[in-house]
């Protein structure tokens, strides 16, 4: 395969979903119930092309450092420099593209059945597939692009699609509010991100990844002067601000749990597997910038570890299956940030890769349960579903085992690796990650046991039924991924995944890598942590089994004995209330004051200015009676006057 074919493939990856979106949007009213086909074909074509790209990059040594594919000059400014529409294909891009399009394809297939019953009366089916395909286009643009300007474009476009899909059931006030919240919280992050990009352009005179990273590596700004550490820290922190918004890290995590108001396939694709990982991708991509600042890296690691623990504790008490999974997503993204912060970007991407499978699986499984329960997703309202939904149960358990880090499942390997790196770099953060791992296993299986075990109990008037083949097939494929995805990155397979990715991070991360497997080759350091974290995971699952299946009175007892802690967790540490008090209400008050000024001061001033012509008009309008004979009379009077004057 030549570079020309690569160019063609990357264009297909980018444009096929866009064409699908346009077809679904434009001809949706004709296609009606068949609108999923343009989306499936568009995303399917993109996936095929992405697999080709992955194979090409894997087999071409030259591609490991990145191939630039210019498409055309987009903006040329007066000084002769220009912004190009240009792709950068390297192992990181190839892996991300394959993940994004692969998971998207499965989710689109799943949605074919799911959206029939959970559509929206207002052209719901067509709208959904058009937006979903548009999202895939935006995400591919974000991943493929070769400069910061296009990155920003893709970044905003995925934000838009996320807004549109969270607010899919716009008739529901909660959904409309959640969409607005997601958009606004992301704006906070994006404003920082935009400033970071501007700062890059000001200092390096280019937005092209390759040139910027090359300059950063040399430690020079465009004018040839050495770059100051403070500048690098500022740029890195501004970019991190954007990443925190998109990837729902503290303190901008508040939008993600609310985003679960969208349809379940959207939660699976956008708010778990792909879009929220954009922040992780961006930080990994800008590794050169981040690793140039020790401070920024520490902050990334701390944010990651704190977010992971914070979200995991909240997930312990939530009762909405999708919210539990949302908090677990925040927590897992925290792991990825922790890995980025301890110079282990390859581990972060590895976790991103395995997480995409099992988290998409869990959300689609929860969607399947919700489908069977007629839209109810609160685990207090049903239990014992394993008899009615055997397939959903089986796949969901596989996903949960992977999330819980049960030994030999994909999540186990990737999470273990991150904890390993974290312990070596910052023991405290590593300890937090280890604790989070145990909590993760506990709350995941709390959810499974509450929903699927115990006596069969369903909401009033609901007849649970297993979902159809269109929904179960993606679940099965994802289950295989959730079990097997981890094996591409373990010692037994030669850590293929990491070796494949390493050229991307080599120049910046290798020098700072504090831990290498080879340098600590004793049995205990290599396998000790694996045994500890595996044991923790099994113990936590066993504890969940004991507490929620064997002795169901214990949770109530714990709740009663630690009411303060319970309230704190149930209220999500009251972060939402704090923001409401400190930001939302003042903003709303300011808005009211502005409306008042507009209504009374500005409008009043205008009233005064326009009073004179209005007064004159008021006097003159008497003359215009609109009656034919009135005018005739004035004509006669006029003639009489003229005659009198003439005589």
């Amino acid at each position: 395969m030549s570079v020309e074919t690569l160019k063609l493939c990357s264009l297909v990856v980018l444009l096929a979903p866009l064409v699908g979106a346009i077809l679904a949007g434009a001809f949706g009213q004709v296609l009606r119930g068949r609108t999923h086909w343009p989306a499936i074909f568009g995303v399917g074509a993109a996936f095929t092309a992405a697999v080709y790209i992955l194979i090409y990059v894997f087999n071409t040594p030259a591609a490991s450092t990145g191939i630039s594919i210019p498409i055309y000059d987009w903006i040329t400014n007066g000084t002769g420099s220009s912004f190009k529409i240009e792709f950068l294909i390297d192992p990181l891009t190839a892996v991300m593209l394959a993940i994004v399009t692969g998971i998207s394809l499965l989710v689109v297939i799943y949605s074919r059945d799911y959206m029939r019953e959970h559509g929206h009366p207002e052209r719901g089916y067509e709208r959904f597939f058009a937006f979903l395909a548009l999202f895939v286009f935006s995400m591919c643009a974000l991943v493929l692009c070769g400069n910061f300007l296009l990155l920003y474009l893709g970044w905003e476009a995925v934000g838009l699609c996320s807004y549109l899909l969270i607010g899919f059931y716009y008739g529901r006030p909660a959904a409309a509010a959640a969409a607005k919240k997601a958009f606004l919280v992301n704006r906070v992050g994006d404003s920082g991100f935009g400033l970071g990009i501007l700062l890059i352009y000001l200092n390096f005179q280019t937005l092209d990844y390759k040139f910027v990273f090359a300059l950063v590596d040399q430690g020079l700004i465009a004018s040839g002067e050495p770059v100051s550490p403070a500048l690098m820290t500022t740029i890195a922190l501004l970019l991190l601000c954007g990443a925190c918004g998109k990837s729902a890290q503290l303190p901008l995590h508040v939008w993600l749990p609310d985003a679960m108001e969208g349809p379940s396939p959207v939660s699976a694709l956008i708010h778990a597997a792909t879009m929220v990982t954009a922040g992780v991708y961006m930080v990994a991509r800008c590794g050169a910038i981040f690793s140039a600042s020790e401070t920024a890296m520490t902050i990334v690691a701390v944010i990651g570890a704190v977010t992971a623990l914070f979200a995991a504790t909240i997930a312990l008490v939530q009762t909405d299956m999708k919210r539990i999974l949302a908090y677990s997503t925040i927590s897992q993204l925290g792991y990825m940030f922790l890995a980025l912060g301890v110079y282990a970007a390859d581990s972060a991407i590895f976790h991103l890769f395995t997480h995409a499978f099992f988290k998409a699986l869990l959300f689609l499984g929860a969607g399947s349960a919700m489908h069977a329960m007629g839209g109810v997703i609160d685990v207090r309202h049903f239990s014992g579903l394993r008899r009615a939904l055997p397939w959903t149960y089986a796949t969901l358990v596989i996903g949960s085992l992977a999330l819980a880090g049960f030994p030999m499942f994909s999540g186990f390997f990737s999470k273990d690796e991150i904890i390993h790196h974290a312990l070596a770099a910052h023991p405290v953060l590593g300890g937090m990650a280890l604790l989070t791992a145990a909590l993760t296993a506990f709350y995941t299986f709390r959810m499974v046991f509450l929903a699927f075990h115990g006596s069969t109990r369903v909401p009033e008037g609901v007849h649970p039924h297993e979902s159809g083949g269109w929904m179960l097939a993606p679940l099965c494929v994802l289950s295989i991924g959730a079990v097997a995805a981890g094996y591409v990155g373990v010692e037994a397979t030669g850590r293929t995944f990491h070796h494949f990715l390493s050229p991307v991070f080599a120049s910046t991360f290798a020098a700072a890598h504090p831990f290498e497997a080879g340098s600590h080759a004793t049995f205990w350091s290599a396998y000790g942590l694996m045994i500890v974290s595996g044991a923790l995971s099994i113990a936590a699952i066993a504890a969940a089994y004991l507490v929620y299946v064997r002795q169901p009175w214990i949770p109530g007892l714990i709740k009663a004995s630690a009411m303060g802690v319970y309230r704190l967790l149930w209220g999500k540490y009251h972060v939402d209330a704090l923001y409401d008090l400190s930001v939302v209400r003042p903003a709303r008050q300011t808005g009211r004051i502005c409306v008042g000024i507009d209504d009374y001061v500005v409008d009043g001033l205008l009233w005064v200015i326009t009073a004179l012509p209005r007064g004159i008009a008021y006097l003159l309008r008497v003359m215009q009676s609109g009656l034919l004979q009135g005018y005739a009379l004035s004509m006669v009077a006029g003639i009489v006057v003229l005659l009198l004057l003439a005589l």
């Binding site: 003159l620 309008r621 008497v622 003359m623 215009q624 009676s625 609109g626 009656l627 034919l628 004979q629 005739a632 009379l633 006669v636």
Partner: protein, 100 residues
């Protein structure tokens, strides 16, 4: 020239009657008839002055005016018909949308 004076007076009376009718009546057809009366007053004047000057131009002019009046009558009655169809009334006061 008392005879010419008489014609001119007849013309003036016709014009004045037409004007009064035009200003006071509300029925569109009557209003239209009033304008015709005013018109005929003018035609009478034209004929009278032709006689006064011993000229045929004025009388020829009067004939032209009659033809034009006939054409105009057809047009105006058509308009009145349209207006009647719109509002089902011939009252001129019904048409006062241009009121300021």
């Amino acid at each position: 020239m008392p005879d010419t004076m008489g014609y001119v007076i007849v013309g003036a009376v016709l014009f004045a009657l037409g004007l009064i009718g035009f200003l006071t009546r509300r029925n569109l057809i009557v209003i239209f008839l009033s304008t015709e009366v005013m018109f005929q007053g003018v035609v009478v004047n034209a004929a009278a002055f032709a006689r006064f000057h011993h000229h045929l131009e004025g009388q020829a002019y009067a004939l032209f005016l009659l033809v034009i009046a006939a054409v105009e009558a057809g047009l105006a009655l058509g308009l009145v018909m349209l207006l009647y169809r719109r509002k089902d009334t011939l009252d001129a006061d019904a048409w006062s949308q241009m009121r300021g």
